[in-house]
Amino acid sequence: MVAREHEHEHEDHSELSVIAARVRALESVLIDKGYVDPGALDAIIETYQHEIGPRNGARVVARAWTDPDYLERLRTDATAAIAELGYGGRQGEHMVVVENTDHIHHVVVCTLCSCYPWPVLGLPPVWYKSPAYRSRVVIDPRAVLAEFRTELADDVQVRVWDSTAELRYLVIPQRPAGTDALTEDQLAALVTRNSMIGTEVLAPAGPAQTEPS
């Protein structure tokens, strides 16, 4: 989905159009000076709108669930293992995977800005970058998870990972019950973006999801 930009001729003094105008002005200056190329700008946008996103991470997770040797490689050198699937590069140069279990639940944040593993999850959602999430998940992670309707037993240890350096964390959520018959592609389709950040867990598969198609 892409928001449409309104190219009206009349004056529109809404805050949104003021910001849009300033960005247009900035872009014009940079293009006029030859500092940026419009085609490169379009290519960057296209990449993050359509090519790099959480479906990448979902494939990593599905492979980890189904291939124990791959999981072991993820544990040893996550960056190299993720690169086996063709993902890597900017903001994913130093990857670490953390695995949710019955006893430990991981959740990732960047309190200092918005660091996020772009090659496997794409660009971060607004909530991840918000002062509310950044400040509250380190203080009271269970309350934050509850806002995502995620409830954990009191004896499950919650481990919050603050991405303060260039290491980037990918949560491997627990594989839902009732998914033994599914293919790797079908499993990947069950993996949500939020489960790979750690704010959600994956629900057990319903009847419609347990049948291989």
Binding site: V2, A3, E5, R22, V23, R24, L26, E27, S28, V29, L30, K33, G34, Y35, V36, D37, A40, L41, D42, I44, I45, T47, Q49, I52, G53, G88, G89, R90, Q91, E93, H94, L112, C113, L123, P125, V126, W127, S130, P131, A132, S135, V138, I139, P141, R142, E147, D155, Q157, V158, R159, V160, W161, D162, T164, A165, E166, L167, R193, N194, T199
Partner: protein, 212 residues
């Protein structure tokens, strides 16, 4: 902390960009960065240097816009007049690298910028060691969050030797060992905190002292 509730959203319920200008802002930031006049640590410092009222009153890409404008001005690539007026521009400055071309985008993003470097000395700390985050409050860029300063944690992992952000923001990579340090929630937030919760940071060696 007073920042209020989070607005949870999923892949399906939220737009990647809330308006076209946000996408343009992302692209301008990456493309301008490719000119080679600042690194990521400098760019983070530019954003976090905004006045707090401005920072918290701005949307995410609005922060990026203000950060980029200050980086461009500091690098001598644009003037304040040019940014204000938009239409009239003076001659371009000489840039460290030529403008990023469309065909270079995919290779650039795929290559990334590995931050690991040869270590200048052996690691000072070892896995399992108890350490205390220093109680230091630098005015420049740092990646030691305030909430761990002075607190006692355990080295979870020795991650390798990386460019040191505090100095790299000013142009000096000064590579240092980096460690994941885990803190009990009760150590950070007090006795009423969840006893079954931890918070970890990735700390550079200068941020840590051995536990007394």
């Amino acid at each position: 902390m007073g920042f209020g509730p989070i607005a949870p959203a999923t892949e399906q319920t939220e737009l990647l960009f809330h308006a076209p200008w946000e996408a343009r802002m992302l692209a301008l930031t990456l493309a301008a960065g490719a000119l080679g006049h600042w690194n990521i640590d400098r760019s983070r410092h530019a954003r976090e240097s905004l006045a707090p009222a401005t920072y918290y009153g701005s949307s995410y890409y609005e922060i990026w816009r203000q950060g980029l404008e200050s980086l461009l001005a500091d690098a001598g690539l644009v003037t304040a007049d040019e940014l204000a007026n938009g239409g009239t521009v003076g001659a371009p400055a000489l840039t460290n690298r030529p403008a990023l071309q469309a065909a270079q985008v995919a290779p650039m993003l795929a290559a990334g910028s590995p931050y690991t470097r040869e270590p200048p000395a052996p690691a000072r700390f070892a896995q399992g060691q108890r350490v205390r985050a220093i109680n230091d409050h630098p005015t420049g860029h740092t990646r030691l969050p305030r909430y761990v300063r002075g607190r006692l944690g355990t080295i979870e992992a020795v991650r390798g030797c990386f460019v040191f952000p505090d100095t790299n923001a000013m142009g000096d990579p000064d590579p240092r060992w980096c460690y994941t340090v885990v803190f009990d929630a009760t150590e950070l937030w007090g006795g009423s905190a969840d006893p079954c919760s931890t918070v970890s940071i990735d700390a550079f060696e200068p941020y840590l002292d051995p536990a007394a």
